[in-house]
Amino acid sequence: MYVAVKGGERAIENAHAWLAEERRGNGDVAELSLAQIREQLSLAVNRVMAEGSLYDPDLAALAIKQARGDLIEAIFLIRAYRTTLPRFGATKPVDTGAMDCDRRISATFKDAPGGQVLGPTFDYTHRLLDFKLAAEGGESLEAPKAAPRHQPTPHITEFLAGEDIIQREPESEAAPGDLTRQPMSFPAGRDIRLQSLTRGDEGFLLGLAYSTQRGYARNHAFVGELRIGTVAVEMEIPELGFAIEIGEVELTECETVNQFKGSKTEPPQFTRGYGLVFGQTERKAISMALVDRALRWRELGEDDLGAAAQDEEFVLSHSDNIQATGFLEHIKLPHYVDFQSELELVRKLRREAGADATREAAE
């Protein structure tokens, strides 16, 4: 009569088998290839690479396939794989000023050296379902091409820096911390903060960034510049004694220019927020820049307004979706023992409060 205790092992195996079948879906429908996911769901691939903190489109495509399209699950697969990889060293900082830009826009200047380049954006599309896409067998499409630009595209904020009207970022040769190799402690420092934000959950950062726009630590941000493109990754090889290019990565970089009336310690000037994220991930990069700026209140001598986006410990402790989803979902695990002890406690407290007696009297 008592059946609940045994059978966990077989139940797990059967659940896994069913999961595999569901993942494949109807066998009459052609199976997705990793190349299809990589090429046609590239923004999903980008998000998985960014929040998984591993730049590998093929592995990200595999993770998406294995996770049945659940991107947080895919990010989790990538993170778990990433921790097992050996570390050979650190690359030199990438030079985003030398980026080959696919997209580069500024909301602060009508035109600037390098121009406004819209690139492959959804921005001005009308969000009407395109039923032509439902018909399969469409040919590959080719967009008109302009001659590529060969000079580097300067950062917009550099034009403001020349006038000294925007806050200068302190230069540093210090090696940045690594949040995957050191336990988090607060205050975290901007290096760790930016690392945490760039791998943080897009939805969480979007919500926080939005809250600053709606008045919770309001700080009006202009998109000084948003650029998307590829940069070379260089690494110094000890045996060679000089740096060589080992590959390139696609990045989205956002610099916001924020109003600033000055504080006790700083003169009136524009201030900056910064976002840098793997892949074409501009919603995330803009969100990151807004949250970064909100978190800089202390360094700029601003007031703590008690807003969520200003609270470093709050933001960094809750931005990681792998930590959050794991802890949230662990409440599915058995809690018979704690629940039993609560049951006994509540029964005892009710007895002592005479609740049972009162109810009986009422019946």
Binding site: V5, E9, T83, I322, V337, L349
Partner: protein
């Protein structure tokens, strides 16, 4: 795209880092040592802290046992046991007696553990003061100053409101007269067992903390002279093995709400039944 993993999954550098944290934890009983927790192939909140501590503790000669809610066969216990069978190739057992390393969630085995055993706890929220003060920066200060008044006020308020301390599990303890510690969500029935011969290690993966209670260390459950700590359990005997001294799970049997009570420690129950003890419904179940 295949990969061979190191013994017990983690690389040696990581295991060394974890062992250092464990040693520090043993040297300062009850103190939460920050460590650079790794992302594991199971979710945070599902035992990643315990798994990392076990990985750093296991040797190829060890015999490993995993329990969740006292049982070896609950789904997550099965999953963790299989993980180490696969990545470490260690012997596994369901018998408390035969295990050298026991990973547990929410229980301390009923049978007394020995000096040559290690008990590894999975910890969700290592900070006993967390629900009184959400900020880590504040709670660390409170520990360093032994500023535990807030906790006593909370326990006092329970008594004034409910006539009893309204904490049934994860009941806070003071270790070695110094640190207030969260014993993980074990029922308070288990608290007296925290003074034991075995090494007790606590791992919280998501929160990046390891702490420890060395063998024979003084562990006191917080209370007041006039409201002493009371380990409680259901007022029944096990319906399968008749044990009156073990923690019991309540099982609903039918639509009429009939219940039975059985040992939560399945190995304890099994060994008692094998020794001939029979509870109220024991024969029916056998």
């Amino acid at each position: 795209m295949t990969q061979d993993y190191n013994f017990a999954y983690l690389d040696e550098q990581t295991k060394r880092m974890i062992r250092r944290a464990i040693l520090k934890g043993l040297a300062v009983p009850g103190y939460q040592v920050p460590f650079a927790s790794r992302e594991m192939p199971m979710p945070y909140g599902w035992g990643t802290g315990g798994v990392q501590v076990s990985a750093a503790t296991l040797t190829p000669e060890d015999t490993f046992k995993v329990i969740d809610q006292g049982s070896d066969d609950t789904t997550n216990a099965v999953s963790i046991r299989k993980f180490f069978e696969k990545t470490a190739g260690v012997a596994v057992t369901e018998e408390t007696e035969k295990a050298s390393v026991i990973q547990t969630r929410h229980r301390i085995p009923e049978a007394a553990l020995r000096e040559d055993q290690i008990l590894v706890y999975q910890v969700p929220i290592p900070e006993p003061l967390r629900f009184l003060e959400p900020r880590e920066t504040e709670t660390r200060k409170m520990h360093s100053l032994q500023e535990y008044g807030l906790m006593h006020v909370k326990l006092y308020e329970d008594i004034s409101q409910h006539g009893a301390i309204a904490t049934a599990y994860a009941y806070p303890v003071r270790v070695s007269d110094r640190y207030v510690m969260d014993p993980s969500p074990i029922p308070k029935f288990d608290n007296p067992k925290l003074e034991m011969a075995a090494i007790q290690l606590f791992g919280a993966g998501r929160e990046q903390r390891i702490y420890a209670v060395p063998p024979y260390t003084k562990v006191v459950s917080l209370d007041f002279e006039d409201y002493p700590f009371e380990p409680t359990k259901a007022d029944h005997a096990c319906d399968l093995c008749g044990a009156e001294d073990s923690y019991l799970d309540e099982v609903i049997l039918d639509d009429a709400g009939n219940r039975m009570f059985v040992c939560s420690d399945t190995d304890y129950c099994r060994s008692r039944r094998e020794a001939g003890h029979v509870g109220r419904l024991g024969e029916e179940a056998a």
